[in-house]
């Protein structure tokens, strides 16, 4: 009997190993372990045995059942593995095919530079102020100590509108961001620390001038503010903006009706591959206009010039962008050429931060 079972077991293991696919294997399982199966039949014989016989035969018959079950499981796993491999082989794709292209957006350099300015000046305690671009001549000229006939008005070739403002004032496109100084002083209590970036307009169009351009104005009104604070502020700003420690400023007496004393600020630069790079003292270029706010301007805004004093400065944003990022044609700023926008633009996540740097 014992050798019969051994033979039977070997017979079933051979049959299971010989099953070529999952269907054949299932047929063997039914033949062995199904209700009518051969092994099931053997198991049923146990019930008719004497206790002694069962003692000896039981483990052997159960052993047979376990061996067959194990063989079935192993064979099933092997067949499934082979089938999966075959399926995967059939699913092979060309992994060198290109993915669907996503449109790449960009931030205009002027916007980027404005964000950089906001970030740097926020650290110095300045907030960003705005004002209308369609201004009246009082805010753009008169309040800034530029009377109607003053020769300085001849400096600006101003765009005018035919209609007058509510107070009968002539309406124009602001020629500088300086009227924001006036509006800020009129509407807020000092101390004031602001920058005012924005669009400005002059009737000027040639290779280096466009009728629309961007300026940033700075204004501080506080007690005890003097020219040295202006110098420090500009130095600190330019060092942070250009991310260089070798920025050298030179102040030169000049004239703006709304500041007294007034100074042009020249900045040292050097040439790298024919391009002007700020830093050092090889050459100097004019970059900013500045000065101490004229007492008449402070008074025109309803503040007491004996109590409050401060400084103001103005600078071209397009120019700052050109000097920092190397564009050479101002007119291209306003053309919307996608090639240019992608070349000089910034990625959406290039957000200027103090920790990450303000130069993307």
């Amino acid at each position: 009997m014992g050798s019969d079972l051994e033979r039977l077991k070997q017979d079933w293991l051979d049959r299971i190993a010989g099953a070529g696919d999952l269907a054949a294997l299932e047929a063997e399982r039914v033949a062995a372990l199904g209700k009518q199966g051969a092994v099931t039949a053997l198991l049923k014989t146990l019930g008719g045995m004497s206790p002694e016989e069962r003692q000896s035969e039981g483990p052997r018959i159960h052993g047979l059942r376990e061996a067959v079950t194990e063989a079935l499981t192993a064979r099933k796993a092997a067949l499934e593995g082979a089938a999966l491999e075959q399926r995967l082989a059939a699913e092979r794709l060309d992994m060198t095919l290109p993915v669907a292209p996503a449109a790449e957006g960009s931030i205009h350099p002027v916007s980027q530079v404005m964000d950089e300015l906001a970030e740097i000046f926020a650290d110095l305690g300045f907030s960003v102020a705005t004002g209308p671009e369609i201004e009246d001549d009082w805010h753009n000229f008169t309040a800034l100590n530029i009377p109607e006939s003053h020769p300085a008005r001849a400096m600006h070739d101003t765009f005018y509108f035919p209609q007058n403002g509510p107070d009968g004032r002539a309406m124009l496109l602001r020629t500088h961001t300086s009227p924001v100084q006036i509006r800020t002083m009129q509407s807020q209590e000092p101390p004031l620390y602001i920058i005012a970036p924005g669009r400005t307009y002059r009737s000027d169009s040639d290779a280096t001038h466009t009728p629309m351009f961007h300026q940033v104005e700075g204004l501080v009104i506080d007690r005890g503010i003097m020219l040295g604070h202006l110098k420090w502020t500009l130095e600190t700003f330019l060092k942070a903006f250009f991310e260089r420690d070798d920025i050298v400023l030179r102040m030169r007496p000049s004239y703006f009706p709304f500041t007294e004393p007034s100074a042009e600020v020249d900045v040292g630069y050097h040439l790298e591959k024919g391009r002007r790079v700020l830093g050092g003292t090889d050459h100097f270029m004019e970059l900013l206009g500045s000065g101490m706010v004229h007492p008449r301007v402070i008074a025109a805004c309803g503040l007491d010039p004996d109590e409050w004093q401060g400084f103001a400065f103005g600078c071209g944003i397009d120019r700052l962008a050109m000097l920092k990022y190397g564009m050479d044609d101002l007119r291209a700023f306003f053309d919307g050429d996608l090639r240019w926008l992608r070349h000089y633009g910034f990625r959406a996540l290039d957000v200027p931060t103090l920790s990450g740097g303000v130069g993307a």
């Binding site: 449109a103 110095l124 009728p211 506080d222 020219l227 130095e235 102040m251 030169r252 004393p261 053309d335």
Partner: protein, 791 residues
Amino acid sequence: MKFTLSWLKEHLETDADLETIVETLTRIGLEVEAVENPAEKLAPFVVAEVLTAAPHPQADKLQVLTVNAGTGEAIQVVCGAPNARAGLKGVFGPPGAWVPGSDLTLKVAAIRGVESRGMMCSIRELELGEAHEGIIELAEDAPVGVPFAVYAELDDPVIDVSVTPNRQDAMGVHGIARDLAAAGLGTLKPVEVPVIAGTWPCPVEISLEDEEGCPVFYGRAIRGVRNGPSPDWLQQRLKAVGQRPISALVDMTNYITLSYGRPLHVFDLAKLRGNLTARRAREGEEVLALNGKTYRLDPSITAIADEAGADGIGGIMGGERTSVDESTTDILIECAWFDPQRIALSGQKLGLTSDARSRFERGADPAFVEAGIELGTALAIDLVGGEPSQIFRAGEPPIPDKVVDYRPERCAELAGVAVPEDRQAQILQRLGFTVTRGEPWRIAVPSWRRDVDGAADIVEEVIRLEGLDQVPSTPLPRAPGVARPTATAEQMVERQARRTAAARGLNEAVTWSFLAEREAEAFGGSAWVLANPISEEMKAMRPSLLPGLLAAAARNAARGAESIRLFEIGRRYLGDGERATLGLVLAGPRGPRHWAGKTGPVDAYDAKAEALAILAAAGAPVDNLQVLGEAGPAWHPGQSGRLCLGPKNALAVFGTLHPRIVRAFDLDGPVVAAELYLDAIPARRGGAGHMRSAYQPPALQAVTRDFAFLVPADLPADQLVRAVRGADKAAITGARLFDVFTGQGVPEGQKSLAVEVSLQPAEKSFTEEELQAIAGRIVAAAAKLGATLRT
């Protein structure tokens, strides 16, 4: 303002060299724009004597010269000038010299077989004039070997300074010398004003009818003058600073103008009709001015008139009718003073600039009227002879009597430099101020500094001459702690919108704020049209950002760009204000062709998707937005809409642009766009701080049920979705349209809309009865819109 070094030195006693002078000028606020020395290009040319002159063996018109150029050897030169002869002294250029007038560099060369080692030069070849008939002939005593520029006194650098509009005093060489002297560069030579006694009464009477515009007018006649070309020294000086010599009398007025900032005018007495009057011009009165142009005047302008009418634009330009010429024998010199504001306005109105205007509008020194006429008379007599009359003085010079109170500490307070009091007083006195030290200082302002009228101006004078480089860089006071946020809510909206648009693959452009009126028309028209535009294309302030973006899109398309995705953040300029706006334009295919699928042209839903995404990023409550109405005449009437929070509160328009607009911008359709009204986005509710509400995920999982409805074909799907969503506010947490179908199985005039509804059970799972009840409410709500459940 141009002047030469030698001219300056007539007013300034100084040992300073050119470089120091130039540096100092810029340092004290007289910015040097250029320095040019005409001698530099003539450096190689020397005075030389022709020793021998013999005919050229091969050419009739040439001679072979030997020349002594002071080198100790006889230099052989072939020369074609008819006046070349032995004994002549001229100007020799050696090999290697660059000849400016003919732009060539001399070299040793054989001319018709005879070696020539240099050139004897003509006037034209040295760019000293037009004469080219022969070589230059110098005086017999001209020193051989000396550089010609030195001998001819051409070694006189020309300095060009940019004078700011406040500096009336720097519009003459004397004033510039005063500034340099105050800066420590030497001593100002005082003006020596001659006192000339007239021998006869002035034959012309002068009356002032416009005393506001012309409060003072001195006149003096000189009879028996011989006008003609002015002498070389005067011509040379005027030419050096870019002025054209005209005649001795005219050159005299220009010389006084340039030297002292004091314009003069000279009339031909024989051409004057009767007496002179400074009066307001009559409406439409015309003057043929000295520049040959006729100007139409009006009563805002001061005219100088005789009894025949106006023949001078007071303080700006004289008239042709009464001007001097070569045959003039009797003259009248005018030395007047004009109101600066009136001159500026008149000059602007006439579009006429002149040396006189640029001085009178800054303000000529009113205390220099007497000096001006005396200096002019003296120079005139010197140049053209004649017998001067007495001076006719009409009016009084308006000499200001300005005294400024000043505390010397103001210098440290305002400029940050504690300049010692003695030093401050010294600077001011050298500039012509009279300083009375006390509590406070009383500082009398000189008549040539009308720009100075307060303590801040005094500080500027002191620090300007002390040096702005002395100002110490001083940190601003800094608030303790980390810098605080400064951006306003509006600024944050713009930043979020901008970065989101870029992250979604849109390229930010900056386009002009002004456009052609016709471009504005389709977008509601412009409320602000410039009176003096730079061109018709840049005339109307934009009522929308889209025309500028469309023009940019068209330029890109013309350059071959296919998929165009542009946006801009800027202002629309409306009648009642400037509105922060984001515009975007999509044109061409959605993207480049791709192997995995068709990309297709952009459609209105692309524009809607961008609009909603950017609005959401900017903080708009996009779930509450409804699409209402059409976007306007610029848009496709069936493929556009307004995204609204209420019927009157649109946050954006979007859609397909009208084909007419697309064509007008030279684009091929379809072009889709959106315009987001950033200032209409309601402010985020603040005040809650950073704390979020407590996290309470539902205990039970949500279930979804799909409903398909047949609805009238023209029912906006959004209405159905809203109705479904509102059918059971407690249980329904979401309703999403996922299919739109027309065709087989859907009756004509209807469409099938399929909506997935999310149901969120609260404490316990929904029973089948509850689900059926909710479904019933949904179907009932939909039925109100004419929807029936599709079975």
